[in-house]
Amino acid sequence: MAQQKVPALKGLKVLEWGIAQFAPAATRCLSDFGAQVIKIESTETPDVLRQLQPQVKGLPPLDNAPGFTHFNTGKMSLTLDLSQPRGVDIFKRLAVWADIVVQNQRPGAMEKLGLGYEDLKKLKPDIIMVNGSVAGQEGPGKKVRGWGFHTSAISGVTFLTGYPGKEPLFPGWNVPADVLGSLFLTIACLAALRYKARTGKGQCIDATQLEPMVHILGASLLDLTANGRPQERIGNRHPYASPHGAFRCKGDDQWCTIAVFSDEEWRAFCEVLGNPAWTREAAFATLESRKKNEDELEKKVEEWTLNYPPQEVMDRLQSKGVPAGKVQRINEIMTIDPQVKQRGVYREVNHPLIGRFLAPAWPFILSETPCEIRHGPLIGQDNNRIITEILGMSDAELVELVNSKVLS
């Protein structure tokens, strides 16, 4: 019965010159599902992820950050000095080798080096090039720089996050825009590959981090474009559910969310609470009345949740079919979350210098072609192999490239 599983993307060849998360996390996905990914790097101006905190003491400075692996699993690394013409030449040869080139350097940087889409297209007419930026390769977006946190701000998503009537709030750091942008970038790669398989044509893709975030404004955007109504922050509440919020539980700063949408869920909720008299009052009998008296309702609910730790609130409610979930912190997710454990959301990798640690897999499990999570490359670890095996250059040429610091 045991069958050797062939990776989903076996044979796919990818060249990446990325910074931080956007392009690296996108090609990382391709790598985990079996593509061969060459990452172009530089020891002079290394990717910021090589300098991520934390860094493990006593290891070489560019190979001591476990966080680098999280965005670069299974890739090959080639260090190249692109300020030298022969460095640019090697990049071009690899672009010809690759099925797809993915990059998120500052808009215009590739063209300046003679590595823009038009340049590469001359060498390989059916090349696929996927360019990532915050707000576009051309026009007024070209100059918009920023981390994911800035992108969330200009997308409207930050504006919609916060308690009602209060200032916008956002989880500090860069997470949502970076993650969503990278997922869209990988989707772009796969869509372009399919187009080429069907038509024989390559293409240039100009993808942003901004547009995916605007796509997730949903009805909040349409309420303005169709009704002229600007939506505001609504916190944890929901116009069609009540109770719908995070409730304080037993313990230090412990919380559980509860989301009651249907009448059936409301009845089950009341049953779990032991059908106390207040649940039968007219003020709480229907969704409409609960919405009207929501402040009071939330107080009543919290009087109950305060008696139990959040896991117990969650399990009691879920056992009767009421959506509920505890507010988990990262330590709980990594140690006691049974889903994360059983589904392999985090997998152990064995890094040659750092040793064993956890790196994330994907939130989608493919039944026939599972992903494989490997450690991120040491900087320049594949220089020799790429030059001689993939590009077929001689050992003498390799030595010369090393001596003249083209392989930087």
């Binding site: 999280h70 996050t161 997470v175 398989a197 069907r198 293409q203 979350d337 989608f364």
Partner: protein
């Protein structure tokens, strides 16, 4: 780019973003609704605030670009019709409770027996396996269990979710990506489909992966911190009020962060706002090592600056000086934002029945080859394409269709 791919989209509101993305890329996505219409049609906001299943903007938002048919898939007659549809389908997307599709004879094995190329993409609260697989969820619940809410909100107040339905979009995007990887494998390598098991919970856990290695190596557990950084080593403010709203800026570490702070300090100096920034050596400044007093001083100087101007003024001045300060744009600002207008990002979708057109987000990205891939098709009316699909494609006679409609199957 995905033209020629047929998708049957059985997903409810938690998963409709997946089919939306595939439709945006040119796939032929057919929404399969319960007779009477999908539950998402009951959610507002409604066009002109008139509650009507054909006027739900909530429904329009992520069913734009799809066709629509109605079918009850659980009775045997409905199941047989569904099986016939599956023969010419590449991808089925569903959000039923774990085990339901199997229980009505339409699980992956059954579909695969009809069409070995079929890709079944299941989007569920906690995935198809694990002790929570039968637990129910919603956006709020997934944001909580996935770890995002612990990072957002004021200390002492309830943890906050992000923009409404954030978890549905994360899961839907992951689902579209997993589906396209499976499709690549099918079209380029194996010729076979597979089951794609997407978990909403895992999607939010995955969204938070930046905190995992910090926890593992530094043993730090970040908590919500209002408008401050949640990273314990960066105790600086992120969101600053200005004259007509808010802007974001952060004091970062490393060479980019230092360059940024120096440019801001020069600006603050030019504005004549005095304070701690005048006395610091910004070439060596390292925020994590700074005292609370210094950081508070910097924050106050930035607040003095932002309080003087509107968000637009601040953004323009910052851009000239190379400072990474950005406005917290409201929805109207986003609609007017020049980079999006330059890219023709927003498209008008005609709604003849409402005698209007509505502006929607358009492309997922720009392509040099495929310009006309963005379907301008408005979200389907209930059963709008029944005749086209059932009579035109499956070859049902019109009387047969009428009979199924009478019996409530279609």
């Amino acid at each position: 780019m995905l033209s020629g791919l047929r998708v049957l989209d059985l997903a409810n509101a938690t998963g409709s973003f997946c089919g939306y993305l595939l439709a945006r890329l040119g796939a032929d996505v057919v929404k399969v609704e319960e007779p009477g219409g999908d539950a998402a049609r009951k959610f507002g906001p409604f066009f002109k605030d008139s509650p009507d299943p054909e006027k739900s903007l909530y429904w329009f938002a992520y069913n734009v670009g799809k066709k629509g048919i109605t079918l009850k898939i659980d009775p045997p007659e409905g199941r047989r019709i569904f099986e016939r549809l599956v023969k010419n389908t590449d991808i089925v997307i569903e959000t039923y409770p774990v085990g339901y599709m199997d229980s009505i004879g339409l699980g992956y094995q059954a579909l695969s027996a009809i069409n070995p190329g079929i890709i079944l993409t299941s989007i569920t609260p906690f995935g198809q396996t694990g002790p929570y697989k039968h637990y129910k969820s919603s956006d709020l619940v997934a944001m909580a269990t996935g770890g995002m809410m612990a990072l957002c909100g004021d200390p002492g107040k309830p943890p906050l979710r992000l923009n409404p339905d954030h978890a549905y979009y994360q899961a839907g995007t992951n689902a579209a990506l997993g589906t396209l990887i499976a499709n690549y494998n099918r079209e380029m390598i194996s010729g076979k489909g597979q089951h794609v098991d997407v978990s909403m919970h895992d999607s939010i856990v995955r969204e938070n992966n930046m905190w995992a290695y910090r926890w593992e190596f530094l043993h730090t557990v970040p908590n919500r911190a209002g408008n401050m950084q949640v990273r314990e080593d960066l105790r600086t403010r992120l969101i600053y009020p200005c004259r007509d709203g808010f802007v974001v800026f952060y004091v970062d570490t490393g060479r980019v962060g230092r360059r940024d702070l120096k440019a801001l300090a020069q600006w603050i100096h030019d504005e004549g706002i005095e304070g701690v920034l005048d006395r610091l050596n910004l070439d060596t400044f390292h925020a994590p090592a700074a005292s609370d007093e210094v950081l508070k001083g910097i924050t106050n100087q930035i607040l003095s600056l932002t309080g003087r101007y509107t968000k637009k003024e601040l953004e323009e001045k910052a851009a000239k000086r190379g400072v990474m300060l950005r406005a917290v744009k409201d929805i109207q600002d986003v609609l007017n934002y020049e980079p999006l207008a330059f890219r023709n990002f927003f498209v008008d979708v005609e709604h003849p029945e409402l005698s209007t057109s509505i502006k929607f987000p358009g492309h997922l990205f720009k392509s040099s080859e495929v310009q006309d891939d963005i379907p301008k098709r408005r979200a389907p009316r209930i059963g709008e394409h029944n005749k086209e699909v059932y009579c035109g494609e499956l070859g049902l006679a019109e009387q047969e269709l009428a009979r199924y409609q009478c019996s409530g199957i279609i």
